[in-house]
Symmetry: C2
Subunit: 490 residues, 2 copies
């Protein structure tokens, strides 16, 4: 799926402002649920709103394979269309777009731009199909209101518009005021110092307004992972602490169950080093899903990377046979994907074939986070998303190409998955838009971490290689534009 706002990025608007406030019939009012295919009724109640002085009222009729729908809203010049939250567009849609004048802004829109007064009071738009080979080239402004243009939506390079779509124009304060009414159960490790597991997941989710109930599968002084950055030590020399047993996990969950507070919209699991504990997690997930089948289970099947296990091999069949059938979203790397499907995943083709195996087992969303070696280069890395809807014949897939940054730090995968939960929820299932936002934040986080490590390298301390997560809280909330993120439908 593509966002309407991705189109807007190549639209040139005349400069100039309205002298008086413009009323616009904006989608607003009641919440809508679930679907990204929004008929006007499904979407929300259309309410007249007053556009700010530097905005226009933008209206669009979308003809899509899933049914036509209507969009409208106040629109900042050269910025996103802000209306019914996201306006995700199905593929193979076409769009009739119109910047309207005061008179017709509050009327229904059937695809015809009104004729009266538009030239004097509106900004005119020149529309360019997004399949343009040169999406950055400027279009000449059109001196009078142009005819409406059918704008086919297809394969698009979105790197240049990164960070300007969905609700990119939403202020940080508005994002902090969101109350998504979501409750996550996150079962992961806890480290006192530094970042791994729950220390990576809880804060980003809370920042996005999620209630996070966290069960700490271990409490360690610090993580035990390897980092790679310049000449710095790759590991902490010591790791001390305690592990939660499967019996203790059962006891904790029993407390939640007996008090009837085991109600979750999401469950999130990550690293787990023990077969019995992993099986107990599966019991917990099963019980919560029995109570509410809508609970969305996000499973990061952490087992190893680069061809090697760093967890016991005995975990794999438990992930494959017990956790995987419960998962709504699975986030393996290429190695884990290969192990779970009994295949080698080195090429994109192998990756997509293996993803299909997971879909066949009932996993709706798959995000392969890294490690498809043949798709990588010296400068770039890749990840993949795939969604297969229950009644769709084939999955919708995207390739994300992004710059390879210096350094490998512990906890990046855990932050990635937590942010994916937040954005997937906020985009109501638009996995490609969500992954793009997550990548934007991850690039900023890794750069900040890397720069800090660089500045501290003389201390020769492992401590300076911890993720700069708290320092990145603005980027966690509002992904910054990131150069060079390429999103392609495949």
């Amino acid at each position: 799926m593509l966002y309407y706002t991705a189109l807007v990025a190549v639209v040139q608007l005349f400069a100039g402002f309205f002298s008086s406030a413009l009323m616009c019939q904006q989608c607003g009012g009641h919440k809508y649920e679930g679907s990204v295919r929004l008929s006007r009724e499904e979407c929300c109640e259309a309410t007249p709103v007053e556009c700010k002085s530097d905005q226009v009222c933008l209206r669009a009729l979308v003809n899509s394979p899933y049914g036509n729908f209507f969009l409208s809203g106040c629109h900042a010049a050269e910025d996103d269309l802000i209306g019914c939250d996201y306006h995700a567009l199905p593929h193979n849609s076409s769009v009739l777009r119109c910047v309207c004048a005061n008179a017709e802004c509050q009327n229904d829109f059937t695809g015809d731009c009104a004729v009266g007064g538009t030239q004097t009071t509106t900004k005119a738009a020149s529309f360019q199909p997004t399949s343009s080979p040169s999406p950055t080239s400027s279009q000449s402004p059109v001196a009078s209101l142009p005819p409406l243009v059918m704008a086919p939506i297809g394969r698009t390079i979105r790197g240049l518009s990164a960070g300007k779509r969905m609700d990119g124009s939403e202020s940080v304060e508005a994002a902090l005021l969101r109350e998504p009414d979501r409750r996550v159960l996150s079962i992961q490790s806890h480290v006192v110092h530094g970042y791994a597991g729950n220390k990576c997941s809880i804060f980003p989710l809370q920042l996005h307004g999620f209630e996070v109930d966290s069960i700490n599968s271990v409490q360690f002084s610090n993580h035990a992972g390897n980092v790679e950055y310049l000449t710095l030590p790759t590991r902490y020399e010591h790791v001390k602490g305690q592990k939660l047993t499967d019996t203790e996990l059962e006891e904790l969950y029993e407390g939640l169950r007996l008090n009837k507070i085991n109600n979750y919209t999401h469950i999130l699991t990550g690293y787990c080093g023990n077969v019995d504990f992993l099986k107990k997690i599966a019991d917990v997930v099963t019980d919560i899903k029995r109570k509410d089948s809508n609970t969305f289970f996000v499973c990061d099947p952490v087992m190893g990377d680069h061809g090697k296990y760093y967890t016991p091999r005995e975990l794999m069949p438990v992930y494959r046979d017990v956790l995987l059938p419960l998962a709504d979203l699975l986030t393996p790397n290429a190695f884990e994907l290969g192990e779970l499907t009994g295949s080698t995943v080195a090429t994109e083709e192998q990756c997509l074939a293996a993803i299909d195996v997971l879909h066949d087992k009932g996993v709706r969303f798959v995000v392969v986070t890294s490690g498809v070696t043949d798709a990588q280069s010296e400068e770039t890395l890749c990840c993949y998303s795939s969604v297969r809807e229950a009644n769709a014949s084939s999955p919708t897939r995207y390739r994300f190409t992004f710059p390879r940054l210096r350094g490998h730090f512990v906890g990046t995968g855990d932050v990635f998955t937590a942010l994916l939960v937040a954005w997937l929820d906020r985009s109501r299932g638009d996995v490609s838009g969500a992954v793009e936002r997550v990548l934007q934040t991850m690039q900023a986080l890794i750069k900040r971490t890397s720069e800090f490590a660089q500045s501290q390298v003389e201390s020769n301390s492992r401590a300076c290689c911890e993720l700069r997560l708290v320092q990145s809280r603005c980027d966690l909330l509002k992904p910054p534009p990131a150069e060079g993120i390429l999103v392609e439908r495949i």
Copy 2:
């Protein structure tokens, strides 16, 4: 101490804007450390800045008992002076204040307002001593630049300016971008569901940019505390989970110590139910302070309330004889203050006398959070702050009176203390300003929690009485103006 901006609240400025940008010699540049007494050199490097179109350049010379100093900065009309971060003013200071014209804005300021051009290009200020009996009454705007007025700073009612002082004008985004470079070790309880202990402390501190290393003294499914709200059950029926032993705490700390990552600017402790564990906490604090005597230890000596212990009585002598002598800031309620000092604390006089006992034992900051019964009314509650500096003959004390809100919820004290750490640090030790901000946030948090509980009361579930902490993240970061908070020096 009072903030200069508290004075500004009663200053009337002419309306009107500069037509061109104004350069102002603003304190900026390098960081300064520690002191609230800022000579210009100590403060920071003065740098010319361009004031925004709706700002004036405001300059002030402060004559204080601790030495004179200079303030300046771009100043939003009727808003705070923004210069060297906070501009905390010592008591018994006087201020020479001047809104300057373009010509002299970049010069030093010795207290004389330049004569040339000021009337045409600056906003004139009428100055009113803050001891005015009617701080809300409007002053007539002065038609020409007024003579400078010595403004004695003294006892002031600040409720009306609540939320507009310190950096009240800072945007939420700017607050999210702050990097205070602080690292807290927080040793408290962990509950999977709901709010108590570390679940209350970590998020607010992280939101303010603090690195939080958290040691969970227990992992329980939920808290065991009593709430009072309408007809709702006062307790969860079940509590399940595990406790950390003193040996396990020692082991965790050993991991930090061996890796040389036991470096903290702050230590924060709260509820602890076990004598041996509390003694081990004292060992940890002692060891960290041995390494860095500047580490600021904030101890909430949680023992009981309303005349009753809800922890073992054996904890008291450990708090009194072992923890207290290590503490830089102690946050007892009246009952705990009484127990620690062997006295009854029912009146303000008794409270202040007991606080003196703590100061005599070396505690610099004391905040008595609640429970001085004779100072309370049906409508209001009180808390007290007291600071005794090493070389000062007597402590500086404040009484805070604030509206009594319906409902008693678990975890409010833990949020209070965490926010106090954040604001005390941000105000560089201005405890009265910090407490006021904390109270503003607490009022908003309790109101939101109470309203949510009210809306859910039909479910008759304890779960709806949990603090609405995540939903209050904007208020945690930027305290909202709260009606009826009265701050008085006593």
